[in-house]
Symmetry: D2
Subunit: 378 residues, 4 copies
């Protein structure tokens, strides 16, 4: 089978580089088009990221899906195009080099919104890492294990816009990944979750590059990340939502979420301390562990290439999960949970961890694309 | 006025060294007796801590109450005694060198319990940093701004034991200091607090020395501290308790507390993210800020030497408090709070910070001793 | 005595803020004029640095020469002027508010060069932290303990330019401060130093703010700092130079220096590992320690307010100096040296440490200004 | 081919765990025997390291030679024996479970010396990570790419002791690995190296676990590591030595080395800044790069399983190598060098980096064992 050609928009940034790294030996997809800001346009990709290559080749290798030779093979030689110049992407598409794009654009929200729509209108599907379209009503915000059925919004979106082939899907914020899948697994088993309080300790890579100054991260934490708490409180409700008969995605009413988002001196891996309240039906601690350990969803059942064997790994040690020791679990695509215990205020407490630039960004985007390919959308 | 002579038990450990440092220029107290493990006994204090001097002279200087010449003046020349050998302390007391002791002993709980009782029985009051006696019914667990009236337990304790002059008071765990005083200030104004969820990010100095291995604190956090959550959940209830007519301290029934305690790569300064629920009477955010800014208690009113001007400092910036930037506020004795905002699950959210080895340990102990002196107990 | 009025150019940056902090209770100088980029102009100083206040009030307090109330007193209320608008400074000078300026400008080298000359031409002496004029032939690069006689260049510089009252002096790079004074102390005693190899481990505050991204400083070091090695190798030669009969500063020919400059995850405090070769006359290790311990210079003899009691503090412990524990020694103005031992390749090895934003920047600049005042230049 | 059975002594420590991890899918060797202190004896290996499992399964996976399922397969089920009880090892050997051992013992030097000799005398070859036998005259200190011919000492050693099958070889200290192979590659091309000054910045894993307290590694460096400088200065001379006609290993006379060893807050990866002086024949910078890039030795030529493709990787970027980004290069077995430039005092300067627990410890030990197998000694 020849591979599907992929473009990466914003390919020179931290998430963009992660996409390129993770896709270096992907069985279904091959990066054949890279675009970024006008500043990088015209250079080879290798030149464009020289001196700001954030990931070593070993980063790909360590996740088991890349090489360790630096910028994987041919991508380094690709000429970077201006992401604003849609005509270049259209030419690439015609030449069979850009069947769809991953968007890791770093612009204003309005610019991204407009640009992603332009790509979709031109017939180029967009799997976006950006927050711009997360609250656009007919755009699915996907976690492949949680709401794969939200791809049903794609035909509706196409119809709304009069688009033929193009569409937009997005992935949610990296901060919610370490608890959203565990919540869903419990909800799937019939346990309502009424409300929860979550405190996160988030890695600096979540802020991109240069991101957080080291002056603020040595012997220090910062108890604030702009916009992060609002996203953490609302995005799960869209993801848990259902599409009604009119083809409208109706957000879930619960759980009510209160988030405290903190930046800590960790390179990769967001940790979340969660206290949650169930509805009247409450599982035992043992049952929670069993549900999480056994949880599997479409990506596992259909063996998507980037799917972790188990989306949720339960650790029994008192002091796990820890970012440096657990973030890379199962190609950095699994959520690792531990400290599962009763809550003295609500019902259940636990600590969750996920790799924010892999599971929470590029890896999650690739898994969404695998879902879209599986369903025939790309 | 000649100064009151003070002994420090466990003087060579991290908290013990902090006591010596903070007391180096104290207007009321003077360290004239130091005791530690048999290993250190017989050496001069300077010799005993050579090669494991955790605090530089500047640490004292920066808190405005020490010198910057290292081990302050005469203390370095004192001969360290074996803390287990009570006869030495009794001799020192007779010689006018040990009117009372600060206990920063590092032994098993049972050993500390017995040893502190022996000192008290010998007529030497003990202000303890250890957790051993925190739940002894007739021992007051003091935060000088919150429950100074709990010193009323001292006569009861003396009577229970048949002690004449000696007694024991303790300070609570360092992890609760960044929210207990703020809670109390609100309670004082008539606002019941029903329950709260707190996540802490605690400094490594809280574990003493050598404490947490650096292997676990580089690019990492550890979501667990043994025993810390239980202490965080129960100790405030004793501190908020009241002494009934039978002279028995009855713990407060509320708030119900759920704690998640994490170790983070910060040298000093514990941070706490708090979500709390009021009773039916709920203050506005502005009122909360006003109550905290204006809060003063006995140590402020009577100008105790180690008392911060304001026990609670409110910061309005979005990204404060931060450990490295705020832990030293007002001689490291103030609690700094910020991010005061409504909670989407409960009523109020905020982030609190306090210096764990100063406010939360040695500095807090000294402030308690100042309270005891003010009340005539020492 | 009424105080000398001081202006700070670049007052909102990290070094500028350090100047304001250190000057908050200075006995001779008072900040009455602050200037920065056009972006800050028109705001109060407090407003201008809101949200980017890098130093807490306690930073000043801990160095014993400030307050702990944040932006000291009246400076917070000063209106920030545009540093490019010289007319504002001239007006301030006429009003008695700007007798001289500290320059902590952050612009291109050419812009700084021109602007500092314009201030000097307008009769406003400039004590500069910038590197722009370090190699201008008639500009003295001062370390007050090493080359106070280089102020003899000021009349020559004035004559060269036809300036009446204004002049420019500069301070050297922060990276050389931890070994230049120790070298000088040995040279003063008649020990030639032929050559040396130095490896530095430099703090992130040396790069200003935002400076080094935290992505590069977590579980990492960066073995390169642009331009730093060249400065480290050449600046000591100018400082060790002598003014000949024609009034020309002739650089020293030795020592030949080879520098490796590394960035490490430390907030403040540059450490240097030095191996050096003497001329034929070689001191013993004991003699080196004695020379350093006893070294005093003009600032000590004349008791300048910011002068450390001893410019060089010798530590005998095997594992000192350490940045966090020693950088604040003597108001962060002393160089702390340790590990003094024979070199297996050259003659002498040692490790030196100095606080880069205090001794190596703002504090060093203030000490230079004290020297200039003492000599009657301001 | 059935695999050779391997024992790991000190299997529960940090280096021991790294051995187990790296050997989990080794094509030639299989861990069938694990021994440690009496405290661990009798437990399963999984139990013995529970709560102190320093490496995650992903550590093995990321180096391309392990699994990501935690304690690889059957090793977790092995019962830990007391390493002091040689009879257990002899039984295991008879049962075909202990053809040779890797020693990562953590005892006193004398204890290790005696115990390793006892194993050898019992016919069990020892590949040791410990420093105990490094200076034993007839024990080879191996870097497989540098002195594979030193295995000629084995027959001599056997003869000296009257041993039949057993023998001891050791690996050198982790601190020298980032420059010894580069030096050797130049020496091989006929360039004498007369002397060098090296400053290291060493990772905390080099101190084992618990190792360096985090109190000393937050916002700090420690400019001292006990015994490390002596090892760094002398071990290369043995490695560069040659065996004379009497079968005696004669150490090299040069280069003379001066080492400054520092501990920095990095988890894994030792960095070295080197200034060196050649003899009369001096290569150009370009020639140095060419020699290093092209350097290959026996492990590469014979394709040993753990051999990196290139022992030395040259990076051209100004700011590399960096520990977090480069330590994992080529299964963490390559030395990465950068900043290759002329020295202003000597001839050549560069920065070298190697992974201290892989290349510098367990990985290097395994490569030595592969050499021994290749040569028929095991």
């Amino acid at each position: 089978m020849s591979k599907i050609s992929v473009g990466v928009l914003g390919a020179t940034g931290m998430v963009g580089q992660t996409y390129v790294s993770l896709l270096s030996n992907h069985p279904w997809f091959e990066v054949k088009y890279v675009a970024a800001s006008p500043r990088s346009a015209g250079k080879s990709y290798a030149q464009a990221i020289a001196g700001r290559q954030h990931l070593d080749g070993s980063a790909a290798a360590k996740n088991g899906i890349g090489s360790d030779t630096g910028i994987a093979g041919n991508v380094g030689k690709l000429i970077v195009e201006d992401a604003n110049d849609l005509s270049k992407a259209i030419d690439a598409q015609k030449a069979g080099c850009c069947d769809f794009v991953f968007s890791a654009l770093e612009m204003t929200k309005d610019q991204i919104k407009a640009l992603e729509e332009a790509y979709a209108a031109a017939g180029i599907p967009v799997v976006s890492n950006a927050s711009a379209h997360r609250w656009t009503a007919d755009v699915a915000m996907l976690i492949a294990e949680v709401n794969p059925h939200h791809t049903d919004l794609i035909p509706i979106q196409r119809k709304n816009h009069g688009w033929d082939k193009g569409f937009i899907v997005v992935k949610p914020n990296c901060s919610i990944q370490s608890y959203t899948t565990p919540l869903w697994a419990l909800m799937q088993k019939g346990y309502e979750i009424k409300r929860l309080v979550v405190s996160t300790m988030q890695a600096v890579s979540g802020a991109g590059y240069p991101g957080v100054p080291s002056w603020d991260m040595i012997d220090n934490i910062v108890p604030y990340i702009g916009g992060e708490e609002e996203k953490s409180e609302t995005e799960p409700l869209k993801i848990f939502g259902s599409i009604n008969q009119e083809g409208v995605l109706v957000n879930a009413a619960e759980p009510k979420i209160s988030a405290h988002c903190n930046r800590v001196p960790v390179s990769d891996g967001h940790t979340a301390c969660v206290s949650l309240e169930f509805g009247t039906k409450k599982p035992s601690i043992e049952e929670v562990k069993k549900i999480w350990t056994e949880f599997k969803a479409l990506p596992q059942e259909e063996h998507f290439p980037s799917a972790p064997q188990r989306p949720i790994i339960v650790r029994e040690e008192a002091d796990r999960p820890q970012p440096r020791k657990d973030r890379d679990a199962d190609k950095a695509m699994a959520v690792v949970v531990g400290r599962i215990r009763p809550c003295t205020v609500f019902d259940l407490r636990f600590t969750g961890l996920s790799h924010n630039t892999i599971r929470g960004a590029a890896g999650g985007g690739i898994l969404s694309a695998e879902l879209l390919k599986y369903k025939g959308f790309i």
